[in-house]
């Protein structure tokens, strides 16, 4: 099912949580809402589910205006961060709940519900745990049950709110791969919220980066990482360093020296230069480069991260060097960013 969010605004007690957000989600797509806390990603998810009502704007499921429908009628599967399983019901009863509460002919017979529950348990790799209670399961198992419960009603959309947030790192990685497999097997349109960029970039077909109640960028992992369209996205996704610079006649100047980067299409004036710490070219001499004093040097996994103080204002930037690179011993390092991006200073 295609989902379209059209100019939605949401206020809580007059405080805006979402400003005029629009988003098209394709049928069968696995999409991630990524952003820091308070960016409105969970609010957007809850609006799609119908757990909140938009202050303005509409949400369409296919061609149908879903904003007029109650939660019960929307037929969405929602998975909560803290599972929200029914403690007094067995695993099988939890999964069958959505079918049992139906009325009249749409409610399958008890036998069919039981069969469907164990089928879903097979799908989430928990066969044979029908009779257990949620208290007898581990966190990862509970979240699988929660997902099976959400899928039992054959939802139009599957919505997951930080589904792996409460689990430890290893279980998390495992479930991530597993969710991808389930999505590929079942083909549900799926939206999940996360603040973990690794999770979003690895798992999703497309990532929606949000900040302060607005969508900053929508794109594939490559789009988001390689061509960020705002300083926020550049800073939020992956490692980044930035420097205040000046553009003059198509050349980039740092303080009173050109740094050897041409920007022929940028307007003259103050700007901020963004680059990835690992994507730099080290130079020996310095005629047109960025040079700085080594302020700190840390070993991080396979690389060495060096912090430099640049110029009279002692702006700090980080670059990454190979572990055994001689430059790390020096007191002064000169470099030029490989791939970089300029954003006009605000």
């Amino acid at each position: 099912m295609e989902v379209r969010v059209a100019n939605v605004r949401k206020e809580f007690d007059r405080f805006p949580a979402l400003h005029d957000v629009s988003l098209d989600i394709k049928s069968g797509e696995l999409i991630a809402l990524l952003g820091p806390s308070g960016s409105g990603k969970t609010t957007l998810l809850r609006l799609i589910a119908g757990l909140e009502r938009p202050t303005r704007g509409k949400i369409f499921f296919g061609d149908e205006d879903a904003s007029q429908r109650s939660i019960q009628e929307r037929n969405v599967g929602f998975v909560f961060q803290h599972y929200a399983l029914f403690r007094h019901m067995t695993v099988a009863d939890n999964i069958g709940f959505g079918l049992k509460v139906r009325h009249g002919p749409s409610r399958p017979p008890a036998q069919e519900i039981r069969r469907r529950a164990s089928e879903l348990l097979d799908l989430v790799q928990l066969s044979g745990l029908e009779k257990r209670y949620p208290a007898q399961l581990s966190g990862g198992q509970r979240q699988r049950v929660a997902l099976a419960r959400a899928m039992a009603i054959e939802p139009k959309v599957l919505l997951l709110d930080e589904p792996f947030g409460a689990l430890d790192a290893q279980v998390r990685r495992e479930l991530r791969r597993w969710l991808r497999e389930i999505h590929d097997a079942t083909g549900h349109t799926t939206v999940f919220v996360t603040h973990d960029q690794e999770e979003a970039l690895e798992l999703a077909d497309r990532v929606v980066v949000m900040s302060q109640g607005r969508i900053e960028q929508v794109g594939t992992a490559d789009d988001i990482y390689d061509t960020p369209n705002s300083p926020f996205v550049y800073g939020f996704i992956g490692e980044s360093s930035s420097l205040p610079v000046k553009v003059e006649n198509g050349e980039i100047w740092l303080a009173d020296r050109p740094i050897g980067l041409a920007a022929p299409h940028e307007p003259s004036g103050d700007a901020t230069l963004f680059f990835r710490p690992h994507d730099v070219e080290l130079l020996d001499g310095c005629s047109g480069c960025i040079a700085g004093t080594v302020a700190a040097s840390r070993r991080v996994a396979g690389t060495r991260r060096v912090e430099l103080e640049i110029g009279g204002e002692r702006q700090r930037v980080e670059i990454e060097l190979p572990v055994d690179h001689p430059a790390a011993q020096k007191s002064r390092v000169a470099f030029r960013p490989g791939r970089w991006k300029l954003f006009p200073a605000t």
């Binding site: 589910a49 939660i71 037929n75 599967g77 929602f78 509460v101 209670y133 929660a146």
Partner: protein
């Protein structure tokens, strides 16, 4: 001093970083013995002074049986009424925000604080045939004061806070997400209450019921004013005990007390078993 080898099985003292296990356990046992165990065993001792046939004669005396029936019957009805309306009061206090909520919340505790005799006198004045409420009920043929119905009303008054205060904290803990999950699965508001919320509250409701019931069975002060205390009709067992005491018939008094003790013990045991069972299932 010998270091005991690590043995499998039960050990009297679990290793713990918190000191004072011996002292606190010793004090607790001595205290409980002094406050509860000695008086209760004294009671059993005194009633054991009666021979079995005499004990049986007192126990099966029609007046004793009637008094026990009235005590346990009215306490049961009152506890049942309190479960329904106490849960409702707790629901209103937990779920809604309205002006005066704190005052209502504080009011629930009044029956705890009020001397029971005061409550009894106040209720009697209200429900007596010439009282404010009694006057209105009289033409309908409903007599409250000086009947078992009056006892029930007094016990409802006394027992209400027990239900509210046991159910309220559990209700506050209910995760909103669980209700939302049920709603996204298509459950109506009514289905959420009956299938999700109520089963979750059931253990607390059972506890509240048993507390209100236990309190009702032992209540004396408020009841004797409104009950009228007619033997075979509205005489409660605690009053019968007092009557026997005033007749210096100590064995009979302790015999009735021992029966009450046994019945209450069985009740509490059943309630505890129900709770242990539900804890084991739902964690």
């Amino acid at each position: 001093m010998t270091t005991a080898p690590a043995q499998a099985g039960w050990r009297f003292r679990q290793p713990s970083v918190i000191p004072g296990f011996g002292l606190t356990l010793g004090f607790s046992l001595a205290y409980l013995t002094l406050i509860i165990l000695i008086p209760l065993s004294g009671l059993l001792w005194r009633s054991a002074a009666l021979g079995w046939p005499e004990f049986w004669a007192i126990a099966t005396d029609r007046r004793t049986i009637k008094a026990l029936e009235i005590s346990f019957g009215t306490a049961f009805i009152a506890a049942a009424v309190n479960v329904v309306f106490g849960t409702l009061v707790a629901w209103v206090l937990v779920r809604y925000r309205f002006p005066g909520r704190r005052i209502v919340d504080a009011m629930v505790d009044l029956p705890f604080a009020l001397p029971t005799a005061v409550a009894g006198i106040a209720l009697t004045t209200l429900y007596a045939p010439n009282g404010w409420i009694g006057k209105l009920l009289m033409p309908l043929g409903i007599k409250v004061a000086y009947t078992p119905l009056g006892i029930v009303i007094a016990l409802v008054f006394i027992g209400l806070p027990f239900v509210v205060r046991t159910v309220q904290p559990i209700m506050e803990e209910i995760d909103k997400e669980v209700e939302e999950a049920a709603a996204t699965l298509g459950a109506s508001r009514f289905q959420i209450i009956t299938r999700i919320l109520f089963p979750g509250l059931a253990p607390a409701i059972v506890t509240g019921f048993s507390l209100a019931f236990a309190r009702g069975v032992g209540e004396y002060g408020s009841v004797i004013f409104i009950a009228g205390n007619l033997p075979y009709k509205s005489e409660i067992a605690p009053l019968l005990i007092v009557i026997r005491l005033e007749e210096y018939n100590y064995p009979a008094a302790t015999a009735i007390a021992a029966i009450m003790l046994a019945l209450s013990f069985v009740m509490l045991l059943v309630v505890n078993l129900v709770q242990a069972w539900s804890r084991k299932r739902y964690g």
